[in-house]
Structure formats: C-alpha cells, structure tokens
C-alpha cells in the first residue's frame, strides 16, 4: 500500500489545439484587414507571456465597419427571409461545436479561466445560444411582438473580458436572428476567440458585412457607441462605463441595453440543503475566479447556522485547486490582468482595515502569472466596502440575517440588482423571496445556471434590458 497522498499528476490540455497565430487582424466586410490603430499584445494571464499581436481599429475603421454593416443590412441580411437567416445561424452554431476544443483552449489561454469551464460551460453555452436563436429567426411573427416585427438596423456591441466568446454569442445570436447586422468590439485583453469566430463567419459563408469585429481599447468602443449611423447599442461591462454610454446615447434615437456590475446576495436559510448550498456558494463566487457580473459575492446566512456553514465552506474551499488554466484538474485559474489583480488586492485590504475576518485557502498559488487565492471574509457588515462594491474576484463576503424579512431587506440594500440565490427546502419561502428580491435573475437551490431560453439582465445599476429567451428578442426589434 503506497503511502503517498493522492496528488493529481498534471493533466494539461495541449495548447497546440488553440492554433495560436502570431498575429490577428480586425474583420470588416467579410475580410481580415489591417487596422489603423496602435497594435496591442494579448497576454496569457497565467504566465504573463505574449500570446499574439493584434492589429486594432482606428476611428476611421469604425466608420468603415459601420458602413459595411449598413450595406449588408440594406442589401442582404435585413431583407432575407427568416428561414434563410436561420440556416446561416445554425451553421455558425455547428461550426462552434466543431471547433469547440480549439475555442476552449484559446479562451483559457487568452482569458486565464480553467479549461474545464471553457470546455464544459463557455463554449457549449455559446453554441446553444446560436442554436436557440436560429430557431427564432423564422418564428418572429409568433414572438408576441405583433405580426412581422422589423429589425433595427446596425447594432454596435461592446463586450467584456470575463466570458469573451459567450458574451459575443449573447450579443450576436439575437441580433442576427432578428435581422440586424453587427459591429462588435471585444475586450482589449481578450480579443482572440472573437477573431476566430470571424473565421467561422467566413466558413459559414455569412454575407460580407453582416458581422464585423474590431479589436481595440475603450476609445474604439466609445467611437462605436457615438457613431451616428448605429441604431442600437448593447454593452456588457462595468457600471462606470455603462453610465458614460447612457450619457452618450441620451437624446439620440438609438436603442440601448446595458448589462453591468452586480453584488448578488446568496441567501442561505437554516432549512437549506447545506452541503449543496455550500456547493452553490462555491460555484457562485469562485466560478471563473469570481469574474462574473452575477457572482454570488454577498453570502447572507441565517445567524443560527453561520458557524456550521463557515466550517463546511472553508473545508470545501480548501479543496479547490488553483493553477494552470490548461490543466483539466484546475478549479480556479488566473485573474485576467494585473490591473484587475491590483483592484482585488486593494478591496481585500479595505476589508482587513474595516475589521472583517479574512480567511484564505491554504492551497498553493503559482508564483508566475496573476493569481489570487480563494478568500472568504466573515463578520462582514452592510456598511463595509467589501459588502457594497463589486470586487470581481475570488473573494466572498459573509453576512448574517435573523428573519426572512431581514434577508430581503439586506439583499435588496444595494445599488445593484442582477441576480440572487435562495437556499431553502421550503417551496413557499422560495416563491415568497423571489417575489421580493429586486434582481433580474433569482436562482433557487442552485446558482450560475444559464440557458439561452432564460432572460438575463438587471435592475438599477446592474443595467436594463434582457438577453436570452423571447424577452431578449425585444432589444433587437423595432417594437
């Protein structure tokens, strides 16, 4: 009987699968073109090595792309029968599936998320969004928006770095299904999978100009948002930028949807299925290193069980494996950028200063790259910064409540309102809570479950508009 501990040997996914190229270029009017912007280098956050050089768009490139999208809208895509559009979108969905491994490895390299998440969650869900919306393309007459609802025209879309390809799918799939054409700007730090998606558009023989992809920084996003010939803006990202966008769009005829930050309350009652609640808490805050707008970053536990929950939670969190995102056994990957890591560290220090109890997982943390060990703060009070501000990292704040009423009050006491979780075995209490929580998505006895048929979006500073489901079509229709 060997007496060694059960250390999992490294099980890395081959990075060759990503077909990484030394250089990537913007995609305009069906072609890859040189952008006139300052090239950027995309970095692997797990090793800090440069993955590729990416040519970026300039202001004039934005104009060219919008013109291409407008032409495609007027000449082909906007007029095409829904059943024809559906064929293209189904093709995109199938090609994402066919190239799933390549996309998953590339996503993990570029973003730092664990391969098990990009492989089992991001890419399959992205494909599912295209499949789902392909089904809608020829059934819009029956979507509840009147007979023959019309598209808006050209959609300008700006997406974040936390789920690069999935957010692209959330944006592009409904836009195409409803007959709009798009100009999309991926995040500055994670442009690669979007540019592989551009290849997929070529493979699917999508008419030129229907999808245009412009890598670049925030200034290019601002240019796109401010462009006079864009009919609709869809943005996912920080509340701060969301507010700027809303100011820019105010007073113009552009339609706008914003999906912004969050500080979701995950509410655990004393009659919850505790072990699964702990799983849900872990999934809620440590999924994708906590880089999730709907992360369950505020844990509200009934005071009578807080010690038991914390003990179970700490044991469970200490089993999480942090390290190489390409290792199939990695549970927590890298923080996406040094900037984000600094922000997390700063907020965590404020938690110490304000008197919360910090507990950090004893798991070994890689020396190179941007990593942050899973952290749980207990004794957190509503007035502390770590209970108010979005940390966007693997940091959980644990607060307590005494009664269901108090749980609702505390959960709603936030400028945000994107998601919430309820853990109880009492069905009536689930419904009672769900009716009172001001959040776009309320999960019961689970967390972070996504489905293209379920609308997703926020209240207050988490933004407005919905993505997914029948409701999500409205954002891209002239209704």
């Amino acid at each position: 009987m060997p007496d060694s501990p059960f250390d999992y040997a490294p099980a890395p996914e081959s990075r060759d699968l990503a077909n990484l190229k030394p250089a990537y270029r913007p995609f305009v009017n069906g072609e890859f073109v040189d952008g006139a912007g300052e090239p950027l280098k995309s970095v692997n956050p797990a090793t800090e090595e440069v993955l590729a050089e990416v040519s970026t768009a300039s202001k004039s490139d934005v104009d060219t792309a919008v013109k291409a999208a407008r032409r495609a809208y007027e000449k082909t895509w906007g007029r095409m029968p829904g059943a024809e559009r559906a064929k293209y979108i189904f093709r995109l969905a199938r090609l994402i599936q066919e190239r799933a491994r390549e996309l998953a490895v590339l996503e993990s390299l570029d973003n730092g998320k664990p391969i098990k998440e990009s492989r089992d969650s991001d890419i399959p869900t992205a494909a599912a969004h295209f499949f789902y919306h392909a089904g809608w393309a020829d059934k819009l007459d029956y979507a509840g928006y009147g007979p023959d609802p019309r598209p808006l025209g050209v959609a300008g879309q700006v997406i974040p770095w936390n789920f690069p390809l999935l957010m692209l799918a959330w944006k592009i799939a409904p836009a195409l299904a409803t007959g709009n054409t798009v100009v999309l700007k991926p995040a500055e730090t994670t442009p690669l999978t979007a540019l592989v998606f551009a290849e997929i558009c070529q493979q699917a023989e999508l008419p030129p100009g229907v999808v245009n992809i412009l890598p670049g920084a925030g200034d290019i996003g601002a240019e796109l948002v401010g462009h006079p010939d864009v009919n609709k803006i869809a943005f996912t990202g920080s509340t701060e930028v969301g507010k700027l966008i809303q100011r820019t769009v105010a007073g113009t005829p552009k339609k706008l949807t914003l999906e912004l930050g969050g500080k979701a309350a995950n509410v655990v009652f004393d009659d919850a299925p505790l072990d699964q609640a702990v799983e849900g808490i872990v999934n809620g805050i440590f999924f994708n290193q906590g880089h999730v707008c709907c992360a369950g970053s505020r844990l509200l536990v009934q005071e009578s069980i807080v010690d038991e929950v914390l003990a179970k939670l700490r044991y469970r969190v200490s089993t999480l494996r942090i390290g190489d995102p390409l290792d199939k056994n990695t549970d927590i990957g890298a923080i996406n950028s040094r900037e984000q890591l600094t922000k997390i560290q700063e907020l965590v220090e404020s938690g110490d200063t304000e008197g919360a109890q910090r507990w950090t997982s004893p798991c070994p943390v890689p020396e190179r790259g941007f990593f942050f060990a899973p952290t749980v703060f207990s004794d957190v009070q509503q007035s502390m910064r770590i209970a108010r501000e979005e940390i966007f990292g693997p940091v959980l704040s644990v607060l307590t409540f005494r009664t269901p009423e108090e749980a609702v009050t505390k959960a709603n006491n936030t400028p945000y309102g994107l998601s919430a979780g309820i853990w109880t075995e009492k069905g009536s209490r689930i419904l009672w809570m769900a009716n009172r929580l001001r959040a776009g998505v309320v999960w019961a006895n689970t967390f972070n479950r996504f489905d293209p048929a379920a609308p997703f979006g926020g209240y207050q500073e988490s933004g407005f508009g919905r993505e997914g489901g029948r409701t999500g079509l409205e954002a891209y229709l002239d209704v």
């Binding site: 059960f6 250390d7 040997a9 490294p10 099980a11 072990d275």
Partner: protein, 325 residues
Amino acid sequence: MTATSTATDTPSPLPERLADATRDETSLRRFLHGLPGVDQVGVEQRAAGLGTRSIKKAAKRWAIDTAISMVDLTTLEGADTRGKVRALAAKAKLPDPEHPDTPRVAAVCVYPDLVGTAVEALHGTGIGVASVATAFPSGRSSREIKLADVAMAVDAGATEVDMVIDRGAFLEGRYGQVFEEIQAIKAACGQAHLKVILETGELATYDNVRRASWLALLAGGDFIKTSTGKVSPAATLPVTHVMLQAVHDWHQVTGELRGVKPAGGIRTTKDAIKYLVAVHEVAGPPWLDPHLFRFGASSLLNDLLLQRRTQLDGHYSGPDYVTVD
C-alpha cells in the same frame, strides 16, 4: 451506547448531542429528520463535476494500486461452492502472478456457510474474510435468525460482517427498531468489524440515504455500505457522495473515523478512480485507506489488473491475460 472506531478500536462515549439523539424513538426521529436535506440536482451535479477529474501517470498508478488494495473480492451466488471460494482466495492472495508486486485485496466476501473455507484458504495472509449475514439480501426474517446468521459467520472465523438493515422498518419510520437491530448485531460481531448495508436503491431518496447513514453510524456500524448488489440501482456516485459526507461530518462531530463501501455495479478502473476522487475530495485524504474505504466488487479487480499492466508495460494486454477467478 458506545461505538467502536476503526481507527482506535477503543470505545468512546458519544458527544452529548448525539447521545440524546438516541434516547428514544421520538428523539431519534427528530434528530434524523433534523439533518439538512440533500438536494438531488445539486448532489448529482457535484458528483458529475468531480467525475471529470483527469487522473494520469503517477496519480493513476497510485490510484489503481490503492483501489486493488481496497477491493472486497466477492462471490455471492446460490451456486457458490468450496472450490469457487478457494479459487477466489487464491486470486485474492496473488491477483496477478506475472506481476507479484501487485497489492493484495482487502478481503474476500462470501456467504456465512462458506466462511470456514475462506478462512482456511486465507490463513496467515492478513486478508480479511467478510461474510454477509442477517438474512442477506432482503433482511426479511426474525431477529433471532439474523443473530444466529451473524454468530455462525463469526464462529467460523469471519473478521468482517456485512449486515443489511431492515428497509421495511426504515421506510415505515420505525427508526428505533433499525437502530436496536444494528446495535444487537454489532454486539454479536465481537471483534469482527461491522459493515451496515443500507440498500440505497430501495431507500429511493438522498434524504433517506443521509438518515440511514447517520442511523447506522449512531448504532455503531464501522462501515456504511451502499448495496447488496442484488438490487438495482446498486452503488452510484451521488449516493456514495452523500455517505462520504456523512462519515466526514461524523468525524467532525465525534473525532471518530468510520468507513464507506460502495458495492455493486462498479466494474471499470475509470469508475473506481471516480470513486477515489470523491473519497479524496468529499470525505478527505485520511479515507484513502482500505481501513476506511472498500469496493464491493467481483469483475472490477480484473479491469484494475489490466489497467495496471497497461500502465507498466505501455500497452493493453486483454482479458485472456488475467485469470477469471
């Protein structure tokens, strides 16, 4: 009421909270129904998630050897004979004659009337002899007969007894009766270790699996075991998760280490490794030990041996290269 820990073999008084739980039928029911529920979707999701762990190279070799050392090599057929048991004992002693460094299995598991044959064949090897008892597999008989069944196995030299709980009494909510029966059988076991088969396939809900696990632990079972192998579904990963969580929680409360044994339907190395990952991450590293985790299996051993050879020789050898018994 005392329970024997497999780790120390010294009786230790239960913490007050648990001693109170077993005072009478009402307290026992209240305690068992006060345990946190198990959410089916959540536990199945967790089991599936852990099942995607990728165990390679040195970790896989270690896992295969550990799994072999945890096998309770089992034959439980009406057609069992002394010859069959002797063949099984020989296989237990030397699983792979071409690779004599292969670990031995933990125990051989037979019906009570064949315990003597197994004891004789395994004399001096240190391999345990486990006997099923208590009107296995249905458990439908009188207390006297069940106890006589146990006595027969223990007198013949069984070092381990695998009993079945009275599922009828459990499902009727007569927890006290189940509890007392386990206690009585534990007493009848003497020095032999007691594994308590819950027959989870008949308990139907994860909440019941959790309650039955705690009931067996409270009554002094050294191991909780999923199934007889005669009822479908037998062992499943999510059920084993719930049971591993129970022994983990039991250890948190009492400081005692109790074991878990999934049995039935585990046939491949791939499956066995999924169970070991669950042991490692749900119960904890101390349970990665034959004293605290066993596989009830018959055909699993050969697949483990084939995979072990594949790891060592670099190529797959095929079923004709390992012995059938």
